[in-house]
């Protein structure tokens, strides 16, 4: 019977159809989906911090509203994604515990600080841009609830990307100081954005654990890291030109033969250090989340106690 179930599962995967929560699935598939969706959810939640950092200092009321709505959307994305995980039998509390204890990761990009208001725009343009490259293919991912969450998320992310780009465009039309601020921000975020696609698929730096291959076979992932990175670079270069900023990569040049831009490699040692916990903000991000979670414990307990009491009172 296990064989039939497994055959059914493989069949669904092959036809690029969706696996649904009640379908049978191999334990490793379940674990892999949970890990990937949780990591994505955690990234949304941790990602609230670098931008949230500028909420109280937004330089115009319109930008304050846009930023607040955006950070709120990230919380919403976290919410859908944790719900998607819950369909696989893992609770939000368990996932939060794993985030706080460092057992599950989040996107390395959020371990870099935001140091000027231009960073809000750059995160929208480059970071959300990279996220979209990663995520659009996931709308077709094999696990149903994840795929459907991604459709909604991608729509909002693409809205955020346009808003970020528009902020940078507006600033480039402002004062010299503002233009310098945008360039400085892009200089800081370009390489970390390239790192968002993960290590190269081949060569010394390639991930030894081979997550990519297995995930692709299962239809959880749909493209290789390097393909997505190339797509992102190709997309970003003309946008940078339109903006009037220089991307900080001397190797960046159009390769007519390939029909793509050639580009330099990020500092993969820095990437490894960030992943290992030595990014500029790893400790701060986790400490922030832990503090908020711990400080909220009494509220969550109160809600639980109140709900339990209400049930008892209704029963009478």
């Amino acid at each position: 019977m296990g064989d039939t179930l497994e055959a059914d599962f493989e069949h669904i995967i092959e036809r690029h159809e969706r696996i649904e929560p009640r379908d049978w699935m191999p334990e490793r598939y379940r674990a892999t989906v949970v890990r990937q969706v949780a990591q994505h959810a955690h990234s949304e939640i941790i990602g609230m911090q670098p931008e949230g950092n500028w909420l109280t200092r937004a330089p115009s009321l319109r930008r304050k509203a846009i930023l607040l709505a955006k950070v709120q959307d990230e919380a919403g994305h976290g919410l859908y994604l944790y719900s998607a995980c819950e369909t696989l039998g893992v609770t939000r509390a368990e996932l939060t515990e794993k985030l706080i204890s460092g057992k599950q990761k989040y996107s390395s990009i959020f371990n870099y600080p935001t140091l000027s208001y231009a960073d809000v725009g750059t995160i929208g343009w480059l970071v959300d841009g990279a996220a979209i490259c990663n995520q659009v293919p996931l709308c077709r991912t094999s696990y149903g609830p994840y795929g459907r969450a991604m459709i909604r998320i991608c729509k909002e992310e693409s809205f955020h990307q346009r808003q970020g780009y528009e902020l940078l465009m507006t600033m480039m039309g402002g004062t010299d100081e503002q233009r310098a601020m945008v360039q400085e921000s892009v200089d800081r975020f370009w390489w970390p954005a390239l790192m968002m696609f993960g290590p190269p698929d081949t060569g010394d730096m390639a991930s030894p654990t081979g997550h990519t291959a297995q995930s692709m076979a299962w239809g959880i992932k749909r493209d290789t890291n390097d393909d997505l990175r190339q797509k992102f670079v190709d997309m970003s270069v003309p946008q940078a030109e339109a903006l009037g900023v220089t991307l900080p990569d001397p190797a960046l040049t159009w390769n007519a033969e390939r029909g793509h831009y050639d580009f330099g490699q990020p500092d993969w040692e820095e990437f490894a250090a960030v992943i290992a916990g030595s990014g500029p903000c790893n400790a701060q991000r986790i400490a922030h989340r832990k503090r908020a979670h711990d400080e909220g414990a009494w509220v969550r307990e109160a809600a639980t106690a109140f709900a339990a009491r209400s049930v008892v009172e209704e029963d009478r």
Partner: protein, 261 residues
């Protein structure tokens, strides 16, 4: 300034400063749902602030701070980011630090209850803009009040600790609450001219709602003295929390008086 402009500034500043405080909860709330809800409330109030500040500037351009020549800063931003502390007209009630979630819920309940009653009356303001802002705001603030009311009762009847914190939180915000219903000259003039409301005339209605929530929660009205006499915040005399709040809020805008954002 003209009475209409002064009145819109006052209501706009309440919304602006309180929205600012609530936005500080972002990424810090007890649970994701509350993070989203508080951001939403903050966004609603920020929206009200923008409409009210714009109305103030339209009614009397004299209230808008003078910007350097060639500055593209719109009126709403000149008002929010380039006025000095003494020119802000919000009540001190909205300036104080958020405190813990219980303090936050207690303040939100009182603020939203008052503002809802006020906006309901303002829907019949003789100023059509104010009436329209109020009509939109009524829907928003009804949700704010309900959200706060639900949490108020939940915390009061949740655990021993949540009850202790809620009662303490209510005591913390109560001394400055009186300021909301203490009429200042601008409000008296606004009421006389038919576009505004004398907050003293709202007191009974607001009080009844608050009493109802307190009763449902089984919490006594705090027995603490009001903080200060007279209109204070409404005439620009703020609390010590206001200076650091504005220092942070205005820092980027002020560093770039000719900036485009």
């Amino acid at each position: 300034p003209g009475a209409l402009a002064a009145y819109c500034l006052m209501l706009g500043d309440d919304a602006l400063i309180y929205a600012h405080r609530l936005s500080e909860w972002t990424s810090n709330a007890p649970d994701l749902e509350d993070d989203i809800a508080l951001a939403n409330i903050s966004l609603d109030l920020l929206g009200q602030a923008r409409l009210l500040l714009a109305r103030a500037a339209a009614a009397d351009p004299g209230v808008v701070p003078t910007m350097p020549e060639g500055s593209p800063v719109p009126a709403e931003d000149a008002l929010a980011f380039f006025r000095d502390e003494a020119a802000f007209r919000n009540v001190r009630f909205v300036e104080a630090d958020n405190g813990d979630f219980a303090v936050t819920i207690a303040r939100l309940l009182l603020f939203a209850t008052h503002r809802l009653a006020l906006l309901q009356r303002l829907t019949t303001s003789v100023d059509p803009v104010l009436a329209a802002v109020a009509a939109k705001g009524v829907k928003e603030v009804t949700y704010h009040r309900d959200y706060a009311g639900r949490w108020f009762v939940t915390l009061a009847r949740g655990t021993e600790e949540s009850r202790r914190r809620l009662v303490a939180g209510l005591g913390t915000v109560w001394p400055m609450y009186a300021e909301l219903s203490r009429p200042c000259e601008v409000e008296v003039a606004a009421a006389a001219q038919g576009f505004g409301v004398d907050p003293a005339t709202l007191a009974d209605e607001v009080d009844a709602v608050v009493e109802h929530v307190l009763a449902t929660a089984g919490v006594d009205r705090p027995d603490v003295a009001p903080s200060g006499t007279g209109p204070l915040g409404r005439v620009g005399q703020h609390s010590e929390a206001m200076g650091p709040l504005l220092a942070v809020m205005q820092v980027v805008a002020r560093a770039h008086p000719k900036g485009k954002w």
